[in-house]
């Protein structure tokens, strides 16, 4: 008697893919911290990390080792379980996004046709949206459990900022969905490959709004109010030490990678290499070229994030809220109306 009838090969295939994507994201995040320091150094006209290994390439490993070797401290007055849960939640939520991103078309391995995407669900973008709204719990719980007024202030800031900018993000997304007619990221990418232009041509304002809200959702400068050192000492992770602090810092970089991947997939053709006929090479090689193209697009977005961080100073809190509610949301609504009008005129 079979108790559970499951396609085991399917489960193994998906588990391997999840493992590859999670570890690859962690590895890329590790080197994004290095990239951040190098980019900051270049923009400020100094050499940056250059001592550990050739060109300082082993610096992130040294940093990681340093974080792990530090003493774990849980404050006496902290709520112990929630204090530990906070960084774990932040990390989980940022890694969960990768499930619906199409990393490439499909490869044939051992006679199996493997699509390079963990789950092509019918509600892809909404799933991303749900996970993003979960991400704020890690910060809120960690900040509250620390039992420190600066941490609490910072986590409240983070939560209100996330909620405010999620509205504009959702409205910018709806305009894009009106043109694509599908929520599946895979379908959106395929439409851009077969269609004439990438979605950025149809939705320039929508992309700008989405990019700004993505900056705010990742807590990046100029929206890094939750980490405003001069007002809040350090931010919601003030009481954290060792790898728990590392998880918070890492989660921010993984959020950056995932939002870059999503922006690349939705507005910049995903794994589509322009002016290149995928049918002219073997399918496996074409898929690998696609993955490489997506990675290059992601790296370009991450560079843009860093460029902005080291160029623009941070907003004041009331300016942030005014921008979110009184500029971004009306602009997003206008974009929505414009898109609707164009679609109606074309009918």
């Amino acid at each position: 008697m079979t108790i559970i009838a499951i396609d085991w090969a399917f489960i193994v295939e998906k588990l391997i893919m999840i493992a590859i994507i999670v570890f690859a994201s962690l590895g890329i995040a590790l080197y994004t911290t290095f990239g951040e320091r190098k980019v900051a150094a270049i923009l400020q006209d100094r050499p940056g990390p250059s001592r550990v290994g050739p060109f300082g390439l082993f610096q992130p490993l040294a940093d990681g080792l340093k974080l792990i070797m530090k003493e774990e401290i849980i404050p006496n007055a902290a709520n112990k379980w929630l204090f530990i849960l906070g960084p774990g939640l932040a990390m989980t939520a940022s890694l969960m996004t990768c499930a619906v991103i199409p990393w490439g078309s499909a490869v044939d391995v051992f006679g199996r046709h493997v699509a390079l995407q963990i789950a092509d669900v019918n509600i892809g973008i909404l799933y991303v949206f749900a996970v993003v709204s979960m991400g704020v719990y890690g910060i809120m719980i960690g900040g509250w459990a620390s039992n420190n007024k600066f941490s609490l202030m910072s986590s409240l800031r983070a939560a209100s900022q996330a909620i405010s900018y999620e509205l504009a993000m959702g409205l910018a997304l709806i305009a894009l969905l009106m043109t694509t007619g599908s929520l599946s990221l895979k379908t959106i990418v395929e439409q851009q490959i077969t269609g004439r232009y990438w979605n950025i041509v149809y939705q320039p304002l929508g992309f700008l709004l989405f990019f700004i809200t993505a900056l705010a959702e990742c807590n990046r400068t100029p929206f890094d109010l939750p980490e405003a050192e001069n007002e809040l000492n350090f931010g919601y992770h003030q009481e954290y030490s060792s790898m728990k602090l590392g998880f918070y810092l890492f989660a921010e970089y993984i959020n950056m990678i995932m939002s870059s991947a999503i922006m690349a997939s939705m507005y910049f053709g995903g794994y589509d290499l322009p002016f290149f006929n995928e049918a002219s090479v073997a399918p496996n090689i074409a898929a690998l070229i696609g993955v490489g193209t997506l990675l290059i697009k992601i790296v370009m977005f991450i560079f843009l994030f860093m460029w902005i961080r080291w160029t623009i100073p941070r907003f004041r809190y009331d300016q942030l809220m005014n921008l979110g509610w009184k500029t971004m949301i009306p602009l997003a609504l206008f974009n929505l109306l414009l898109t609707g009008a164009v679609i109606l005129a074309k009918l």
Binding site: I4, L82, N122, I123, L126, S133, M140, A159
Partner: protein
């Protein structure tokens, strides 16, 4: 047992345990966190019913927005453990068991109604929960109730803004 049944029972047990923990927890923040887990379990049930859109909207709206506001309010109010009268654990469990028995009784009554006789829940079937059929139904068959409820939401929003400005 099929995979679906295992998932169904696991999710149900998860939902019931989390719901009991919402009531039993002494700390209001813990209660909110358990309530979020309840919403996740319910979303899992929606997915078993092939209603992906409902599942994800349940997470976005309840777990993602409303519960964040709950947490917000509780954190700002700074509820102390002592300030709230706490009943004994025994009393709480008695209440849970009594309430659960009453619910079982109600379900038994509902199951006897003529519309539900001989009906079975269809797991992983039907398309009404997917986004295309649901959107079609909302904007053709149910367009009037849908628009009226959106006007209701709009008036609630305007009211909130006016109260907030005072």
């Amino acid at each position: 047992m099929s995979t679906l049944e295992i998932l169904f029972y696991a999710l149900s047990a998860f939902a019931i345990v989390s719901a009991i923990m919402v009531l039993v927890s002494k700390n209001p923040i813990h209660s909110v966190l358990w309530l979020i887990l309840v919403f996740f379990a319910i979303s899992g049930h929606y997915i078993l019913l092939n209603a992906q859109f409902l599942a994800i909207v349940n997470i976005i709206v309840y777990a993602g927005a409303i519960m964040v506001l709950f947490l917000f309010v509780i954190m700002l109010m700074n509820v102390k453990k002592d300030s709230e009268p706490q009943k004994q654990l025994l009393v709480k469990f008695t209440g849970v068991i009594a309430g659960g028995s009453f619910l079982t009784l109600l379900i038994a009554l509902v199951k006897q109604t003529s519309q539900l006789q001989g009906k079975q829940v269809l797991l992983k079937e039907g398309t009404i929960g997917l986004i295309h059929p649901l959107g079609k139904a909302l904007f053709s068959d149910y367009v009037l109730p849908f628009e009226i409820s959106s006007v209701l939401f709009l008036s609630a929003m305007v009211g909130a803004v006016i109260i907030g400005k005072k």
